[in-house]
Subunit: 340 residues, 4 copies
C-alpha cells in the first residue's frame, strides 16, 4: 500500500471536478499532481474556481496521456462530459493508470443500450467489458481490484440504494416502481443555458425529461441485477431551485402487508455496516446530507404501498464523494478517508 497516490483530475472546469478538488487536498493519501482542461489549459485551477485559492493552485494542462504517465499519475478521476470520456479512458488504461470515470460512458453494460440512450455508438467495448459499476454498497469487492470504475450516476444511487432491500427480499411488485426525483441545479453542469439561468430557474419548480432521462437504463440495469430479472421503472426528474441535493420519493406496491417497523428493521440490517448510508426514522431533507457523502433513507408504509425517501448531495455522494470512496476501496485505505 502506497501511502500517497498521485492523482489527476480530467476536465477541471466542471462542478464534479471542483468538488473533487475540495475533497482531495484534505485526503491523507492523495495528491493532485495534474488537472486537465481543454478550455482552461495554462490557467491555475484556482483562477477558474476562486474558492480553490490557496487550497489547490495546480495549473491546468491539455489532456495528454503520455504527459500524465510521465508525471507519475496513478489514478485519474474523469470529470469529462459523456462521450468525451472514452477518448481519455482508453489511453490512460493502456498506460496502466487506473481510472475512476464520473461520466456515464462505462455504466451501461450493453453497448447497444448506450447507443440508444446516448445517441452515438460506444467505441470502447473492450474496456466496457471489465469496467466495474462503482457503487460500494453493491460492488465493494469488484471495486477493490478494478482498473476502471464507472462511478455511478447521482439519481441512480438514490433509486438503487432506496429499493435494494425490498427487491433483494422480493417484497415489492417490480412492475409498480415509480421514482419521483428532484435535483438541485448543479446537477445540470456548469455550462450556462437558458434553463439554468438564475432568473429562469430561481423560484421555479419544474419537471424535465419525463420518461426519457438517461439515468433510466442505468437504474433499470442495476435494479434488474438485484432482483434477478428485468425491471422497468417510471423515472420522473424535476429541477429544484437550490444548488445541490437530490431527493427521490420512490413508490412500490408491497407484495404482502408489512409494518413500517419491520421494514425499518430490514433497512437497518441491510445497511448496518455501511459507513455512508444512514437509515432514519425521521423524514429526511437534502440539507441533512449537504456537503457530505451520506445517503439518507427513510421508509414509510401507506396502505399497500411502500414509500421510500432517499436523499443525498448530488455533487458529493452523487459524484465526487463516492468517487473518493471508490478510490479508498481501490487502494485499501479507510473507506471514510477524506470524507468525514
Amino acid at each position: 500500500m502506497n501511502s500517497t497516490i498521485r492523482c489527476a483530475v480530467l476536465g477541471g472546469s466542471g462542478y464534479t471536478a471542483l468538488e473533487l478538488l475540495k475533497i482531495l487536498p484534505r485526503h491523507p493519501h492523495a495528491e493532485v499532481v495534474a488537472i486537465t482542461s481543454r478550455t482552461e489549459a495554462g490557467q491555475a485551477i484556482s483562477r477558474v474556481h476562486p474558492s480553490l485559492l490557496n487550497r489547490c493552485d495546480v495549473v491546468c494542462m491539455p489532456f495528454d496521456a503520455d504527459a500524465l504517465a510521465a508525471a507519475g499519475v496513478q489514478v485519474a478521476f474523469g470529470c469529462l462530459p459523456h462521450g468525451a470520456s472514452i477518448a481519455a479512458v482508453e489511453p490512460l488504461l493502456a498506460r496502466d493508470i487506473r481510472v475512476i470515470d464520473l461520466s456515464a460512458d462505462y455504466r451501461l453494460r450493453d453497448p447497444a443500450q448506450y447507443h440508444r440512450w446516448y445517441d452515438h455508438p460506444h467505441t470502447d467495448s473492450a474496456n466496457l467489458a471489465h469496467a466495474v459499476y462503482g457503487l460500494p454498497e453493491l460492488n465493494r469487492e469488484q471495486i477493490r481490484n478494478a482498473r476502471l470504475v464507472a462511478n455511478p450516476g447521482c439519481y441512480p444511487q438514490t433509486a438503487i440504494l432506496g429499493l435494494a432491500p425490498l427487491l433483494a427480499n422480493k417484497l415489492i411488485d417490480a412492475a409498480s416502481i415509480i421514482i419521483d426525483s428532484k435535483s438541485g441545479v448543479s446537477g445540470a453542469g456548469r455550462t450556462p443555458k437558458l434553463g439554468t439561468h438564475y432568473p429562469e430557474c430561481n423560484e421555479n419548480f419544474s419537471a424535465y425529461g419525463i420518461g426519457k432521462h438517461r439515468h433510466t437504463p442505468e437504474i433499470e440495469q442495476l435494479l434488474s441485477q438485484i432482483a434477478g430479472g428485468p425491471i422497468h421503472v417510471l423515472f420522473t426528474p424535476h429541477l429544484v431551485p437550490m444548488d445541490r441535493g437530490i431527493f427521490s420519493t420512490i413508490y412500490a406496491n408491497l407484495n404482502a402487508s408489512a409494518t413500517e417497523a419491520e421494514l425499518l428493521a430490514l433497512y437497518r440490517s441491510h445497511y448496518g455496516r455501511e459507513p455512508f448510508v444512514r437509515v432514519r426514522d425521521t423524514l429526511p431533507g437534502t440539507k441533512d446530507t449537504a456537503h457530505t457523502n451520506y445517503l439518507d433513507l427513510c421508509i414509510k408504509v401507506v396502505g399497500q404501498r411502500a414509500v421510500i425517501l432517499a436523499c443525498e448531495d448530488n455533487l458529493v455522494r452523487g459524484a465526487s464523494g463516492v468517487a473518493v470512496q471508490n478510490f479508498n476501496i481501490m487502494h485499501g485505505f479507510a473507506e471514510t478517508a477524506g470524507l468525514v
Copy 2:
C-alpha cells in the same frame, strides 16, 4: 347587480389575506371596507404588510359581526385558521353576509371526516350542509347562488383538476393514483416555526406528512364525486425552497392504451372554455403561473401510465385568486375581473 360590493377580510395578518388585499384594490367591483385581526387590531394593515402601503391602509379591527353588518359588509373573505373560521362564519351568515371561507372548515361534507382529520368536532353542521365547494370548474352553477363558499385547498385543486378528465371518462384505474406534490414555503403560513425558519428550509428539499396530510380527504371527496365511487389516493407533500408555487406530479395507470395526443385533446376539450386552466403541450414550471390565477396542466404517457403535471401559484390560484373568481361568479361579474 350591484356595481361595487363592500367586502371584509377576516384574519388580515396572514398570507392569503395579504394576497387578497393586493387583488381586491384593483378589482373594478370590490371595495375593502373592513379587515379584522385579533393580533393587529388598531394597526393599519399596511403596517403589518408594508407592501400594502398606499394600496390598502385600512385599520384592522377585532372581529365583530354586528360591526361588520353595520359597516354594510356584503361579502366576507375568511382567512382565519382552520377551526377559528366556524366561529366567524356562523354569525356572519346569520346577518346575511355571504362568506367565502378560505379555511378548511366547510370543505369536507361529512362532519365525522372533519373530526377525524382536524382533531375536533365540527360545530356548525347546519351551515356545512349548504356550503358549496368553491372550485369553479366543477361547481360554477352552485357557486352562483351560494351563501357560503368553501374555498378549495391549494394542493387539492392541482389533484382534482389534473385528474378530472381521466376520471370522468373512466380512463384510469382509480386505485392506482399517486399524487406527489411540492409546495413553496408560503403554504405553511406566516407564523414563524423552526421548519420554516430561513436557514432551515433554504437550500433544502424535504418531505412532510407522508400519507397523513389533511388535504387527503378533501382530494378523495372530490375525486370520488367525479368518479362516482369511492377513491383513495396516496398523497405525498414536499417542501420546496421557494416562496410560492405548487407542483403536483400525478401518476395513474391507464385502463387502455392511449396516446399523448389523444389525452391532450381530451384535456383541451374538457377545459376549453375555462378562463383559468391552461392545457399545455410543454412541461410546466411553477414560475409560469406565479402571481396569476392560472392552473397549468400537461399530460404525458409513459408505458401504461399517465403522468399529469399540474402547477399553480398556491396563494393566488390556490387560495385568494380563486376566492375572487368565486366572488365574481357569485355576483355575476366577468369571471376574470381583477384577476388578469
Copy 3:
C-alpha cells in the same frame, strides 16, 4: 384623448419586454398590436415566455418600421439592447411613432459621454437632442409632449430620487456621495452567462463593476442637474441572489446638523403628491416593492451623515412600470392606470 393606444414592444425576448407584456394587457387604454424579435420571429411570444399563455399570444415579427406604421402602431416600447436601440428609434420617429426607449441610448445628453461609456459613437444626435429623460418625478411636464422618452435606468432612479430632496435644498456635501447598490439577478438580462448561471450566483453575494458601471454618468448627469453644478459620485453595484429588486444605501455628509424627523418631513413634503414614491419611517426591504411601481425611501441620520435607503422592483419601477407611467403621462391617462 384616444381611448386605446396601439402599442408595439421591440425586442420581445428579454425581461423588460416580458414585464411590459404582463402590465399592458391589464391596462385600460393600451393594446399590444405588435412584438418584434430578431431571434423569435414567427413564434408566439407565449412560446418564448410561457407565463404569458392566454394573456398575450401575439406572434413575434422581425423589426420593420413600415410594417409597424402600417399596423397603426402609435407608441413603441423599446426593449432592445444598448446600441441596437438607435437603429429602431430613428425610423419609428420618422414615421411619427412615439418611442419610450428602455435602453440607455438616449439617456446621456452628451454624445461624447455616451461614446466614452458605451464604447461606440452615438449615431443619432438629432433625436438625442430632443429626447426627454423619463423620470416622472423630475420631468413630468416635458414627458407629456415628448416624442422620444429615454426611460431611466434602474439603479439611477434609486440614487436620483433618494438624493433629490437633499441636493435640491443644498443640505449635503455633494463631494461626499457614495451609492452602495444591490441588485437582483434579472437586472443582468436574459442571456445566459457564467456569472448568472444558477449555481454560480445562488447563495452568493458579490460586487461587480466597482467605480466603472455605466449607470454612473447617468446618475451624475441627473444629480448635477438637480444640484445646479457638477457632481461626481462613487457608485458600487453588487449582485444579490434573488430575482428582482434593487436596494441602494446612499451616504452623504450633512452640511449642518439635522434630525431624522426634519429630514423625513422634508422627504414627505417633497414627494407628497407623487403616486409612486413612498416615504417611510421604517427600514424598507425590496420585497415591499416587488411587482409594483413603488419606489420606497427612508432616511436615517447617523452622526453628521445622512443614510438614505431606497428600493424598488428593478423590472417594474426600474424599467417597464415607469415606462407605462410615462406612457400614461404622454397620453393624459391617469398616471396609475395599469399600475396598481
Copy 4:
C-alpha cells in the same frame, strides 16, 4: 502537547455549535466529550441537527461545571447567547477549563461600553480583564496562553482585517470610514422570528440596525487599537437572502494618492504569511469562501477613495472556524488543523 484535547460545546442547539460539531470530529487533536443544552438535554445532538447523524451523536446535558470538570473537559467552546455566557464562563475558568467564548460577552474591554450596548451590566469584570480578543491575525501571541478567548464577531472581522493595513500605515482619513455590510440569514441565529421566516426574507434584501448594531463598538475598539487613537465608523448591516456569508464594502478617503497596485502589494505583504487571509486581485463573492475559514480581501481605488471588499463565511471564519483556529494556536497545533 497533549495529542487529543477533550472539548465541550456549550449551547448545542444553535448554528455556531452545529458548525463546530461539523469541524471538530474531523480535527486530528480534538474530541467532543460533552455538549450542553438547556432545551435539548437528554437528546442526542444528532436528533437536534440531523445532519450530524453518525458524525456526532453525543447526548446533550444541562450545563454543570462540575460535571464538565469531572468528564475531563479541557476546553469549552461557548455557543451561548450574549448575556448567558458569563454565567458559564466564570465557573469553568474557576475549574481550570480554558474557554473560547463565541458570544460577545468578553469582547468589549470596557464594562461600561458593554452595559450601554447590551442593556445590562457586565458581572464578571475580573475575567473580562484578562480575556484575549481572538483574532489570530492581530493577537496570535496573546491567544497562545489565553485562558479565556473572546472569539471575534462575524462582521467585525471583515471590517478589522479589511482596514488594518490602511490604518496601521496611516493611509486613510479615520473619520471617513463607512462599512456597508451584508449578511446571510444564519447570522440571525436559529430561533424562529418573523424577520427570518422564509417567506419574509426570501427574495428580499433589507437593511436593519442602521447606526445601532452591537458590532459597532467592537469594530471601533479594534480599529482604534490599530490606529492608535479613537475611531468612529458608520456601520450599516443588511440581510441577504442566502444561508451564509458576509460581504463588507468598506469606504475610506485616502490621505494621499495611491494606485491599486501599490495597495494590493501592501495588503499582500501585510497578510503574506496568514494561512486564512486571501488577498485577491479579482472581485470576491461570498461563495468563494463558503464552508471555509478563509477571509477574502480585495482593494480598489476610485478617485481619492479606497474601496475594500471583504468576505467570509459567517459561521466558519466568522465564528466556529476561527474558534478552532484559536484552539489550534492555544494548543500549539498546526493552525490549519481541522480547517482545510
